[in-house]
């Protein structure tokens, strides 16, 4: 067995899920890890990896995608929370759609490219936040009545499912990121978050984080 250097270790930290949500959606989970990296243009090695990935994905995979266990689990969860996965696409389907539409996975920068690789390889939904703008552990909860959301004038609709730290919402689940909480120029530490739903094994979440983490260090 090959021993990896310490810096390759991605230590996933389980997040919290509000009890009412956990009771309604058994299997809903969130796992995160902090990686020290800087955003910016992807290095050639990462772009090459993206090109190789583009060559592996074609129309046949896109057609069969929704029958595969993990993408199907996300589609089902979208239905359960009131989203239409054909309008608001699941993260993996959005990427595959763009691949078919554009002819390749476009490079959008180091962090986004790493997340793309992690999501396409494993199928798990990943998001990134600026780790220095996050207070405490991240989790999933329902928004409180009248709760505000940075970057949005009106308050969140009551009961919206959000990704939150211990103080405020960081983003709407499978939707917008709160202003100032996402990865931007000057970010030094990236918090990569994997969101699991029923039907997605825990090991897939860890694998997705590991793949994204290794891509970030390419």
């Amino acid at each position: 067995m090959v021993e990896l250097p310490d810096q390759w270790e991605v230590a996933p930290e389980p997040g919290w899920v509000e009890p009412s949500l956990a009771e309604e959606f058994p299997g809903l989970s969130i796992v995160s890890t902090v990686l020290e990296t800087t955003p910016g243009r992807s290095p050639e090695a990462l772009r090459e990896r993206l090109r190789t990935l583009s060559d592996r994905i074609g129309g046949a995979q896109a057609i069969q995608l929704r029958q595969q266990p993990i993408p199907w689990a996300y589609r089902v969860f979208f239905r359960h929370i009131g989203l239409d996965p054909d309008t608001t696409r699941t993260p993996i389907e959005e990427l595959i759609f763009e691949r078919i539409h554009d002819g390749r996975f476009k490079s959008r920068g180091r962090v986004d490219d790493a997340l793309t690789i992690g999501m396409v390889e494993v199928g798990v939904a990943l998001r990134a936040f600026d780790a220095d703008q996050v207070q405490g552990r991240v989790g999933l909860r329902l928004s409180a009545p009248g709760e505000g959301f940075e970057g949005r004038v009106s308050p969140l609709p009551d009961g919206t499912i959000v990704v939150a730290d211990e103080e405020r919402p960081l983003g709407i689940l499978f939707d917008r990121t709160a202003e100032g909480r996402g990865v931007r120029r000057g970010t030094k530490r990236v918090l990569v978050v994997a969101i699991g739903v029923r039907g997605v094994p825990d090991i897939a979440l860890e694998e997705a984080l590991w793949v994204a983490g290794s891509a970030l260090r390419a």
Binding site: E24, I63, Q67, W72, R104, L142, P157, G159, I172
Partner: protein, 183 residues
Amino acid sequence: MPELLERHDIDEIELVPEESLVPPAPPEGLDTALYEHDERAARADLRRQIAAMELALARLFGSAFPRQGIEFGVAGLGGPRLLSVDELEQVRDALAARVHDVSRRLHDATYVEEKNRELIEEMAADPAAYKWVRVNNADIGEPGCKHWHSTPRWGPFGMLLGWWRVKISSGCPLAKGPRPPNP
């Protein structure tokens, strides 16, 4: 008896309507224990049904390719949020209707395609009986640009002599236009 009715030392008893004997709400704690539990079980059951229908729709989606014009969409209800039993029922019913609709359309399409396959066989067996008939890959539910065309051999001369044959096209035209930009 009249003397009993005329007694003033007995307090008058106020009669209450029968329905008010039913308490307006269950005792504290009991309502959530019973009511909420049942709703949660109903929601969980509806979610299982939605999952099964989503899988059925996904399989139909895979089977339908490359046929065009089949609608697979089922409108969302605005989220992400917890849906009530009524809303989950709406999603379940919409999915069920869509699965039924797509199944019926696919059934109709496969019937027509089967007839077109038979037509190709008949054309190949007797091209002169199917003059100028053309069947495309799309007509038999296959991807690609191939087509079967009953045409006369040697043009007008073959047409006069009744030398008909089924010509199979060589596929899609080659891609044209500018090269894609370098990544």
